[in-house]
Symmetry: D2
């Protein structure tokens, strides 16, 4: 039985509490939040828990793991403290707000031989997993481009722009599905409500093999859209996370390029309009998968799919995007250290 | 009775023929197309017409006006010839493929005192007109940003990229609704099917008053989307051209910015979720409105709403966007000559 | 070249004129309508036609075929006259308003050896044809039931209720797809706007093999719905005529009945949720198919798919449904004469 | 603090447990279910609860109220026992499976002065409440007819047909919104999967003032539809429970009947196509409202909105509908006793 504590019970934390409560191999022991009202609510639902407004009290509960679902600016310090006290940690996305912090956190976790996992929930989403299987199978041919839209009338953050808030979802999905990392990014946005916090942003990412990915993020849109379109040379995929049953559509229509074109003759692409298939996806709650994976990694001492390095990749892309945002949409290169645990040992 | 000739009966031309046939104040006299099959088809439908594969024969039919619906690369030469022969001209969008050509065309039309009109059809679309009325009324407050998407599995062009093909629609809509012109643009795209013809493009435009407009264009998307979202400080608008009845939705929800924010206190935006209204729009075919307007301008010797200068504005924006596309997404300034007919006379 | 005349140019007639104009093997010679304005409009579009407000003048135009698109109450008399004058006839649905009239018309056509065809357009609709192919292939198993909805804010008729106006569509689709005829019907409706003309009706039909079909018809619904759901023992089909691309969806989900049920044990059906497939349908205008078929039947002297007997079947079902409507929803048997041309000759 | 027990933790029970756990004025003390696995799951989530497979043990927990969420066939006996032991009861719909049972239950509750409430959840649904407000305000004019569809690929019941399972929802909504009771009903259905349990049913109900209501119920439909259309003389309403934001649409379009019709002249209805409004509905979980109402009725000793008499009305309509189903769709009268508590005292 893995003993779990949770810091942060605002918007997302209660879902983490519920999942760890319901998984038989874990036991939520204590929950902390600065807000007494939230704490009272949690205590009402789960009278068996220790609740507190001082997270330090959780360290006295003989925990194995700490789950951190606080505002991003506090992730680094809280995660450091928890790892320092010998706990495995699951941190909500974004892992931290600076790649240097993330690197330090990774090193700390390696030093203490603790699991460091970031909550890139979509990587555990059955629909995203199905998407990756389809792309990897070659069914859609080579990927031409990806267009992602994640907009709604959202929850505003006062100290964090829409990039840091929403982009971790799409970047982690892109890294996972394409199996590669973007080499450059440019971003444009606007601050409508607060003068210095972007609430709308557009980002384009260059991936290897000339793949373009474009991401539209907004907290200021009347419609809730969460759609990713993947256009391949043979087929096209649409993943609509708002749909309940028809989450993925595979469009068997594409454009075939004739082997040569006659300069003087007519020019015609041959369109293959074909069937559309909506594969059945056995849906489970992505967060349940994520929580189970965290527990499994602790038990089996294995590295999570969304480990610190994945968290670092995402933070680096957002850092570069934010530089571009500040520079009026300049194209920013993104560099990745390749130092990985194995190499580190060698070093 | 205004005697009309039409050059070009491919994809769009037959709609122009049909409209001018059905409007009582006009009479289509002759139609030209290089393709004999198209010509035969038109003759089958309208046996009363002179049809020819040589457009020059149309000049012998005692016409008042010529409608040019040929590939864009031929617009300039054909329009010059028609104006030179004393005809009023309606040219499909884009008016030409270069601002210098457009300027020359404008001057020629002024010299010959002929109407020069460009077919920015959406300006005549009742839904777009309703959008402008709503924006102008102040109902949505000040405009924060506009997001436009125009994608489908489209008709490819071999010598024209998706910008020149589709952007005229969105740019003309933006110019019309915002009543101002963008000062700079940046664009990114990719050429998936043909190596040198972009079939996907993203464009962001800076308008005065810090308004951002973003446009997504694609010939390579499995879904047909034609949606414009206008986010204002009080309300939000969605114009969905694919919807048959619910073309415009007015969302009475927005974010209210508190008059001041207490740096040390909690920070909350107040969301006003409100009703959604779908105004009834008496729909008429936009092309019918456009054709009627052209005839009216001829009769009343007045300047069209989408005259040569409007065509020039659109061409300039696309030229700048294409420069950006060639320069990896650089931000390109757009300059507009302000010389207008009245000033010209003074000069 | 088959010379065609058209009587009736109101709501539907112009579509018939346009199709026969565009088909190369036919030539529309004359068009009649009581309304001078409609006639003028048609003349404006097709100056080559003889137009008249007196349909009798069409008989002087040396026609081969007459198309009748007038109000249903006039179908019988006009069709009789046209056949009597040696013309093949295509009559809009419903063929007539009484089965006795329809029988007389069939006999007259057989006597004069003329083609008598009724415009059950949906039988020529590529989506309906695809539906039938899927059902006939056995892919969905045996048909359990069919649910059809055809509602909108419709055009009211003052002398014809919604059953006679809309039911011919659904009944002809059901007869075509199931390949059998209903044995009984009951109907319920209400007259909202006019006291004696039902504008809303529900009809349930018993088909052989215990198949239930239910039809909902309304002129008084804010949404336009045209949906047919076919539930089979293995799969389910939805045909949504309002959709432009996704007209037919095949749901690979069904309920499997265990071979036996243990009275004392738990009882579980096994649901097979599976993929959804949207077959690509090469769409052509159904009316074009219908018109071409009529011309082909004339040329090849063959019996139309929607001949007088099919028209008679539909009229009989509606007659029985109307009796039920008058009797408060009583179940009414429907009898069909099996006398067919071949047998008739024997007789 | 009201002490609550819950019998039945299958499909719906856990939602009741969760709501009573979260409401501060109540305290769930114990939960019973025959299935050990369900009980273990509940205990895992709420370790503070007494759980048991023998519901009788709950009577030893000093409860104030019992919530019964077991299969309908057991409702009557369990509710009798709970009331007999002095508990207030909330029973899931349908209250019982026979009007005689329901009457007996009502009498028992009156005798013991206990609250008897039935879980017609939709009466507590904010969207249904908004619907009633709109209808009562007169905004839509007089109601012409109501069409309700409640279909999906549903959970089969082996001993209860689709009428008893789903019709309580629509009948309780109709009774609530129209504020009157149907005088007759006819129903048709079919048993596709099991030979003697209808899984598809159509029901039409005659309400006073000549209002027709039609209900379509199915466990065998590939699409989940939960839509109620209310057509009034001035406006039309659509309530789509599957929509998350746009639950109610008010269509300002209707048909105006001219004051008189000229028998010899043309006949035209005047259609007023108008705006569509989607009122904002502050959504709360209907079950939360229901549970709170139950507790409030206990505390304030007042009669619930969905008391035993409402439960009885619904059972009577279903009984009549089932008679019709057995008689091939016969029209069955529905009679209601008007004896109400107050009158009863007089008697």
């Amino acid at each position: 039985m893995i003993r779990v504590g949770v810091i942060g019970c605002g918007y997302w934390g209660p879902n983490l509490v519920r999942n760890f409560v319901e998984i038989p191999t874990a036991m939520v022991v204590g929950v902390a939040d600065l807000n007494q009202e939230r704490i009272d609510h949690i205590k009402g639902c789960y009278p068996q828990l220790v609740v507190t407004t001082d997270y330090r009290q959780l360290f006295e509960l003989d925990l194995d793991a700490m789950v951190i679902a606080t505002p991003p600016a506090t992730h680094f310090a809280l995660a450091c403290e928890a790892i320092g006290r010998g706990l495995h940690v699951l941190v909500e996305k974004p892992l931290t707000l600076a790649s240097t912090d993330t690197q330090q956190l990774i090193e700390l976790a390696e030093e203490h031989e603790r699991i460091l996992m970031v909550g890139h929930t979509f990587v555990y989403n059955p629909a995203v997993r199905a998407l990756k299987r389809i792309v990897d199978s070659g069914e859609i041919g080579s990927v031409y481009y990806v267009d992602a839209v994640r907009v709604s009338l959202g929850l505003f953050q006062k100290d964090l722009n829409v990039l840091w808030d929403l982009a971790p979802h799409d970047i982690s999905i892109l890294l996972y599905i394409l199996g590669s990392k973007p080499t450059s990014v440019s971003a444009r946005g606007t601050s409508c409500v607060l003068s210095d916090v972007e609430d709308v942003a557009y980002m384009d990412l260059s991936f290897p093999d000339n793949i373009l990915a474009h991401v539209h993020l907004s907290w200021l849109d009347p419609c809730k859209v969460r759609r990713t379109t993947i256009v391949g040379s043979k087929k096209m995929l649409v993943y609509d996370d708002v749909e309940s049953l028809e989450k993925i559509k595979v469009y068997d229509k594409g454009v075939e390029r004739p082997p040569y074109t006659d300069t003087f003759g007519d020019f015609h692409f041959s369109y293959r309009y074909g069937d559309i298939t909506i594969p059945n996806i056995r849906f489970t709650e992505p967060l349940r998968e994520e929580c189970s994976h965290f527990l499994e990694c602790i038990t089996e001492r294995k590295s999570p799919e969304t480990d610190g390095y994945e968290g670092l990749n995402v933070v680096r892309v957002i850092e570069a995007a934010e530089r571009s945002l500040r520079n009026g949409g300049s194209r920013e290169k993104i560099t990745y250290e390749t130092r990985r645990p194995a190499e580190r040992i060698v070093a």
